[in-house]
Symmetry: C2
Subunit: 349 residues, 2 copies
DNA sequence: TTGTACGCGTTATCAG
DNA sequence: CTGATAACGCGTACAA
């Protein structure tokens, strides 16, 4: 408890001292260095435009005064703010956390800061948040947006925009390719003797959900396995639980869920109804989120490179912002099958 | 796949159209409404200072022009930016999920946006991030900071600062009181016959870790139960695993871990060594994070009101920012024991 | 109630 | 290479 300084606790205290002298400006530096403010500006923003001597004097003065650019003043003439916005649909969904972290790390490394907003799974909120942010940030990342293509394109017409896990014509995007992971997964299931597979879908408007379904269907057909889809719900643990009844009613011996959250919910609901996983049913999720290996049995899943997704999105959107990249380019990262305990051989008839 | 517009994919596309006419300013509105720009400014910032008629004309014009304040231009004269910073030590720690969300929700409701940064458990990074943010935001929230008191106080001398789960003299704080939850937990353990309890500590510099330890110790002494502490480590699943050896070496029949992450790691490591939980050892965590009920057995834990913590921190820091609250006030939220499967009766000697 | 004029800290465009 | 000066968009004393 060494960090608790005053025994009494949290008493009142004089308000913010005036002693915090107003932050130094380029004028202060100019005066101290004996040059013109505009020279200071040049020295600080684009080194090389002033003589080495002056440059040094200015740097010293800046150091001494503990100078920090006022990004707002800078933003006025330039329009650039050194911030990038990130909008996610659900902050508490662990799948987004590595994306956020990836983006934050990459931003920080480039001396940008991240502005975060949440759309709470609502297209309206998303659009509002996006518009508000757009006036402030240099670039915007939309993580698995629920917006219509036109809205996104409209946004992208004003500032660099990159979407993750979705493709929108003319807009930069970074997506985790389901192909590799799903191919491995279906092959594995086929090897284990499964003949009928189901897919528990995600939100209606999720590009990624239909993408995953298409891929699964294609691979299953290739292997001559029957496929079906079951009623979609919220992409949450609760949503997964709701799907349990439909899954039990079907003939599938293995089921893919739109994401790990749903897979976990489904598994737990089934288990509490006495069904043994994977003995009686195999379950697979997508993403490999935190906690997906905590369950019993641990969840088999198709891992998305979440962190890399965040890094890539930020990199792309900033490159675009600085004109280094083509607007509307697309990047694809690969997925990977993680076999754990929730998948097994088809049950004996 | 309805959202995929162009079959070909992501081809090139003309660069950002110039048609995106420069954003409307109050001058544009003034012209359209036939008034002076300063009147527009007044109408938009503090309604009531202009006649209802003019007000209406201005609102209409603003609407028509799709006007959005330029917060940077506004920030220059006022110094206020409508943003608040939030620094967490580890974005991927689920314990912060709900804090972040609480803060974001509350911020959004007050028309503020959240700027997020991560310190990656390093006091240096934290200070750097904090300083950088401080020039930009109206107020700053430090979630479980690793900084020294003096650094935090210095920060707080410049802008409103609130810390969570820590007390710093003269600085606003919101903490989850461990008292209630721990009291219940220890009583429960006592009822179950436990006579020796251990605490797996968190990071050395964590105020909350020593706080939890003090509370546990006090309650155990009250019940006449022996207490000990075991080597601390990183507050992660991995850190919990590392503590397994020390825990096995001790005499405790029940152990509290600094947080759920560690508790989960400890439990899994022990289980893989063949120890049955809770038959041979009872385990308790703190926080009740996402996933803590996924384990087998599900983790008993002392729940922190994470979301409320985030809301309270944001509310307090903004109140302070607008002069409504005393700087350095403290708020305490209660904790609650969640009994699940990882705790049970003391093993038969 | 409304208009005038100036300042906020920086960058950019000119001269010199 | 450097200095003066005009924006950038908005808030706000002050005057009308």
């Amino acid at each position: 408890m060494t960090e608790m300084s005053t025994p009494g606790g949290v008493g009142k205290r004089a308000s913010r001292p005036k002693t915090a002298k107003a932050a130094a400006t380029i004028y202060d530096i100019a005066e101290l260095a004996g040059v013109n403010p505009s020279t200071v500006s040049r020295a600080l923003s684009k080194p090389g435009r002033v003589s080495a001597k002056t440059q040094q004097k200015i740097m010293d003065a800046a150091e001494e005064l503990n100078y920090q650019v006022n990004i707002f003043a800078r933003a006025l003439p330039t329009g650039r703010t050194q911030t990038v916005g990130l909008i996610v649909s659900d902050i508490t969904n662990p799948a987004f956390f590595d994306i956020i972290r990836g983006a934050e790390t990459a931003a920080s490394a480039r001396n940008y800061t991240l502005m975060l907003a949440e759309s709470t799974e609502s297209a309206d909120h998303e659009l509002t948040a996006a518009r508000r942010m757009l006036t402030t940030v240099d670039a915007l990342i939309l993580a698995s947006p629920r917006l219509a293509d036109e809205d996104i394109q409209q946004l992208a017409a004003k500032k660099p925009v990159v979407v993750t896990n979705r493709r929108v014509d003319g807009v930069g995007s970074v997506v985790a390719d389901t192909e590799a992971g799903v191919a491995d997964a279906v092959r594995h299931l086929a090897d284990m003797g499964h003949k009928s597979i189901a897919y528990v879908a995600g939100p209606e408007r999720s590009w990624m959900s239909t993408r995953r379904w298409e891929t699964i269907k294609a691979r299953c057909e290739w292997h001559g396995i029957a496929v079906s889809t079951v009623a979609s719900g919220a992409p949450t643990v609760e949503g997964g639980r709701h799907a349990a009844a439909a899954v039990r009613g079907g003939a599938a011996t293995a089921v893919f869920c739109y994401n790990d959250l749903m897979a976990i919910g489904l598994m737990r609901e089934l288990q509490s109804a006495g069904i043994r996983i994977p003995a009686e049913l195999s379950i697979l999720g997508f993403d490999n989120i935190f906690g997906s290996d905590f369950t019993t049995p641990p969840l088999s899943t198709i891992k998305s490179p979440l962190h890399e997704l965040g890094v890539a999105a930020l990199t792309m959107v900033l490159d675009e912002s600085s004109g280094e990249a083509v607007q509307g380019s697309g990047s694809t990262l690969s997925t990977e099958l993680i076999l754990r305990g929730s998948t097994g051989a088809v049950p004996e008839a």
